[in-house]
């Protein structure tokens, strides 16, 4: 099961929030966005996305609404709530600090 590009749960939540930062998307859209913007490095097991979406919705970080997709099917669209936006900002800041710190550590000879 373990291979490069697997995601920890907390990281996945953060990516989902980021994916929705520019507007509402359905689940498939979120998966595609993560794929594309990571240049196909991050393999999200696509199914695993859905429990994460539902969890975030329950926590009130996301709002969900049924709409019509680009190919005219009924689809569930997710968007950030105010709380979600705040959470994303926090996570981004935290991630920036952490990754910077880890990078520095790894560069030390």
């Amino acid at each position: 099961m373990e291979k490069d590009g697997d995601l920890m749960q907390g990281t996945l939540d953060m990516l989902v929030l980021k994916a929705l930062a520019r507007g509402a998307k359905h689940g498939y859209g979120v998966a595609e966005w993560i794929h594309d913007s990571s240049n196909d490095v991050l393999h999200v097991e696509e199914g695993a996305l859905y429990p994460a979406l539902h969890r975030l919705e329950l926590k009130g970080l996301l709002a969900a609404e049924w709409g019509t997709s680009e190919n005219n099917r009924r689809a569930k669209y997710y968007s950030l709530t105010a709380v979600g936006r705040k959470k994303l900002a926090e996570e981004t800041e935290y991630w920036r600090r952490m990754s910077g710190a880890i990078a520095r550590v790894m560069q030390t000879a």
Binding site: H26, G27, Y28, A31, E45, E46, G47, A48, Y50, P51, H54, R55, L58, K59, G60, W66, S69, N71, R73, R74, A75, K76
Partner: protein
């Protein structure tokens, strides 16, 4: 918010399921379309989409869990499933529940006894505010003790009461007061002298009349008033509502009844008080002593009610300061205060006994529970292997291992809960009966006891915690083991037979059996050693004659007798008793042999400065002959020595040996308190006159002369019927003093008082041992026979290949018996350690008892042999073709 959404979700389950279905279908369709765009074929595209998506079932499950009260709903589902599984298998369920019930029942029972004896708070309002205060002295201590060493003097009490800043009130009472209630039929009562805030501080209101007020304690002997217990009022005064204002006689002093305590209030000790009198009336109640004025005599127990907001730490610090100030008046002495929430049996000595005994017993019943757990775990293991197929299928269609293990655990918790509830109920129900039985069968002369073993919150919490722990302990290993299996073989129904031998299940099962055998051995051998030790102690020859001897016990000083009056009484009583038909000998003694009374003093050896502690008795010259204690050297006291209260001694043989090894003891002297040299005139053979089962330590006798007459009791030897003699003695005493309580019994009855505690311990350890043996036998039999029957196929193959039946049999037996043998060896080693510990705690126990050490392992081996022999023989005789098809 999320909580509310979940609640809503509960009612929209169908809608949510439908939405989820549609959402996931949409995703798969989009992915499939994308894959087609990339040029994949239709089928290929769909499969690829599914592959990328992962296990749809599991993901749906995960999404649903996010929406539901997962734990609640899953637990409920698991419970229903578990209940169904248990109901389908009534045999298994019955055995498992019963084993658990036995294990938990015994534990709960013992705990509720301990709880009732030593953990429950006092039965008074806001009992959590009440703390008990005791003291322990260190260093150079010279102090008179009445009762227990941790008690306080009246001045000390007054000091603490006046100077503390942490109590809203501090009370004191004398816990060991006995008094004779006068009347037509005088009765000996336990009571208490109390400070006058006693009832108010405890929050106890009287059922009738009033309780003490400060005025009652203003000055010594100022206010002769008494509060009666409701019990006494009912049984003795016919619940006379006009009792208040009447007088009663206590130790021949008149006391005015001012009130009757509330029903159910029996004071603050396990022995119930029948009356309470102001502490200032001490001298009137006990004319033989005057402790109120003594600064350095401990006789009062202290309890305080903490001010609201005060903590135990503050109490300790505050009272510690006062203790330090008191210590300054006693150079070289340091006092430590022991302060905790007040319970019955709260004083340090009582506590250490209660907790010491309790720890040993709890450890023993804990071991019984462990055996029961191992039994149930083994049953679950066997069952899990029967359900291998079901579990394998669930695992292979995507059930997570944790989920299935959790379901199995729920099942075992259900078993534990059923067993625990059953066991606890049985324990509570039977305990009331057992407690009543024990309390009504206490030996003659033992104090009446209040023993409230009814369950409270503590007991329920304990039993619930134990139940949960038990369920996890016996369920965890089987659950983890059952879910860690090779899917392909299990699903096909293989993996039984040849392969099982090496599989982990066999290993786990064998370990459990070995452990069971070892634990059971420890318990049984412990119980065996204990019982044999007690048997030895009980049947031991005390070293003196008891047959035909009647004892008459009475206490003259407390009834206001001075020496003069006592001499006259004793002289007249002895004359009357000697004239009774059949009576051929009358002797006097300060304490009667094995009478649970002990006298101690210090004597100094010539040439030494340090005192040595002696036990002693004061007896008339004929005492030794009457009790058949031969004088081995020298002589008994002469009449003239007795008449003149001469300071001469008869010592026991072992005393002579210890003090003057290899020398003639006759003529040696010992110095007493008054600097008098006391010559040894005789040496009497050793006996167990003060403790049964234990030869007396340093022990001497002095003559019972005129100066000793106030504190002597009678021993009467008669040829006639004991009952007639006893009645004659009672009549004689009544004729002289109708208000004096004279306790007349056979001397042999003293043995009962020694044997009863041993009997209770022996019965308890016997029951525990039997229980352990029963559980372990069931366990060993079940597992060994199951293990062998699992190998019938293998045996068939071996036989088909031409193996010799006897060899196969030997192989099967050897493998089945191995864990039992290993367990037995571990058990014997464990026992050696345990018996060392036990023999330190319990007197009279040999630590190496061959019957227990050899008998128990042989018995268990026999059971294992039978359990494996019968199925093995069946296997060897069976037609190989049938055996091969056997499942």
């Amino acid at each position: 918010m999320s909580y509310w959404m979940r609640v809503k979700a509960l009612f929209k389950r169908k809608q949510l399921d439908h939405d989820l279905e549609e959402e996931l279908a949409f995703h798969l369709a989009m992915r499939e379309a994308k894959n087609r765009e990339r040029g994949q074929g239709r089928d290929e595209a769909r499969y690829a989409a599914r592959r990328q998506f992962g296990n749809v079932m599991r993901i749906k499950e995960a999404c649903r869990e996010a929406w539901s009260f997962v734990s609640l709903e899953t637990t409920w589902r698991d419970l229903r499933y578990g209940a169904r599984a248990l109901a389908r298998n009534p045999g298994f369920t019955a055995v498992a529940v019963l084993a658990t019930a036995l294990g938990i029942g015994v534990n709960t029972g013992i705990f509720s006894v301990m709880n009732g004896v030593a953990l429950k708070l006092l039965p008074v309002p806001s009992a959590q505010q009440i703390v008990s205060v005791d003291q322990i002295f260190h260093g150079n201590v010279r102090r008179n003790v009445e009762g227990e060493p941790g008690l306080f003097s009246y001045t000390e009490y007054k000091n603490y009461q006046a100077n503390n800043h942490v109590f809203s009130g501090l009370l004191a009472y004398a816990p060991f007061l006995e008094a004779t209630l006068g009347g037509e039929d005088p009765k000996q009562l336990m009571g208490a002298e109390t400070s006058c805030n006693f009832f108010d501080l405890l929050g106890e209101r009287p059922a009738l009349g009033r309780v003490f007020v400060e005025e009652d304690c203003r000055a010594p002997e100022a206010s002769a008033v008494v509060v009666l217990s409701e019990d006494l009022w009912r049984t003795r005064f016919g619940a006379d509502r006009l009792i208040v204002g009447k007088s009663v006689s206590l130790n021949r002093a008149k006391f005015l009844v001012i009130g009757v305590a509330a029903a159910g209030f029996h004071g603050l000790d396990p022995w119930p008080s029948a009356f309470w009198a102001p502490v200032t009336m001490q001298k009137a109640l006990e004319p033989q002593r005057d402790v109120l004025a003594e600064d350095n005599t401990g006789w009062l127990a202290m309890l305080g009610r903490m001010r609201p907001g005060a903590s135990l730490e503050e109490v300790r610090a505050d009272l510690g300061v006062i203790a330090g100030r008191i210590d300054q008046q006693h150079p070289g002495r340091a006092t430590t205060l022991v302060i905790h929430r007040a319970t019955f049996m709260g004083r340090p000595e009582e506590r250490s006994i209660a907790f010491g005994v309790g720890a040993v017993v709890l450890a023993a019943v804990g071991l019984v529970l462990l055996i029961a757990c191992a039994n149930v775990a083994n049953l679950l293991l066997a069952r899990a292997s029967a359900r291998q197929k079901e579990i394998a299928i669930r695992l292979s269609i995507g059930g997570s291992r944790w989920r299935i293990a959790r379901q199995l655990l729920t099942e075992s918790l259900l078993v534990a809960f059923l067993g625990g509830t059953l066991g606890s109920l049985l324990a509570f129900w039977s305990l009331e009966g057992i407690a009543r039985y024990v309390l009504t069968h206490l030996p003659h002369g033992a104090p009446e006891l209040i023993w409230n073993v009814s369950p409270d919150l503590h007991v329920w919490a304990y039993s619930m915690a134990l139940t949960a722990l038990t369920g996890i302990v016996f369920g965890l290993a089987p659950a983890l083991h059952a879910t860690r299996q090779d899917l392909s073989t299990a699903a096909k129904g293989e993996g039984v037979g040849l392969m099982r031998k090496a599989a982990g299940g066999g290993m786990l099962r064998n370990t459990l059996v070995g452990m069971q055998v070892a634990v059971c051995m420890v318990l049984l051998i412990g119980a065996g050693l204990l019982m044999r030790g007690l048997y030895y102690a009980q049947t031991a020859d005390p070293g003196f004659e008891m047959k035909g001897i009647t004892q008459a016990r009475f206490d003259l000083p407390s009834q206001g007798y001075n020496l003069e009056k006592a001499r006259a009484f004793q002289r007249d009583l002895m004359a009357r008793v000697a004239a009774l038909p059949g009576v051929d000998e009358v002797e006097q003694a300060r304490v009667t042999p094995l009478g649970h009374q002990w006298e101690g003093t210090g004597l100094t050896l010539a040439g030494e400065t340090q005192e040595r502690g002696f036990e002693f008795n004061v007896v008339t010259p004929g005492f030794f002959a009457m009790l058949g204690m031969p004088i081995v050297r020298g002589r008994t006291f002469t009449e003239s020595e007795t008449r003149s209260d001469a300071p001469v001694l008869v010592v026991t043989e072992s005393t002579a040996r210890r003090l003057w090894p290899g020398q003639e003891a006759i003529g040696k002297t010992l110095r007493n308190d008054e600097k008098t040299q006391c010559p040894v005139v005789g040496v009497v053979r050793d006996s167990q006159a003060s403790h049964l089962g234990k030869t007396d330590g340093l022990f001497f006798y002095t003559p019972a002369g005129p100066a000793a007459q106030d504190r002597l009791q009678l021993l009467v030897h008669s040829k006639g019927g004991d009952a007639a003699t006893a009645n004659g003695i009672r009549e004689a005493a009544r004729a002289l003093d109708a208000d004096l309580i004279v306790d007349v019994t056979k001397l042999e009855d003293n043995l009962e008082a020694w044997r009863t505690p041993s009997r209770i311990v022996a019965a308890l350890s016997g029951v525990l041992g039997a229980l352990a043996l029963l559980l372990a036998s069931i366990g060993v039999h079940g597992v060994v026979s199951y293990g062998v029957s699992q190998r019938i196929r293998e045996v068939g193959i071996r036989m088909a290949l031409g193996a010799d039946g006897r060899d196969v049999m030997k192989l099967v037996l050897r493998q089945a018996l191995r864990p039992v043998v290993i367990g037995a060896i571990v058990g014997v080693i464990g026992c050696a350690a345990v018996s060392q510990v036990l023999s330190n705690i319990l007197y009279g126990m040999g630590s190496h008892d061959p019957v227990a050490f050899v008998g128990v392992p042989l018995f268990l081996l026999g059971i294992a042999f039978l359990a494996s022999y019968i199925p093995a023989r069946r296997a060897v005789r069976v037609d190989p073709v049938v055996a091969l098809r056997y499942e």
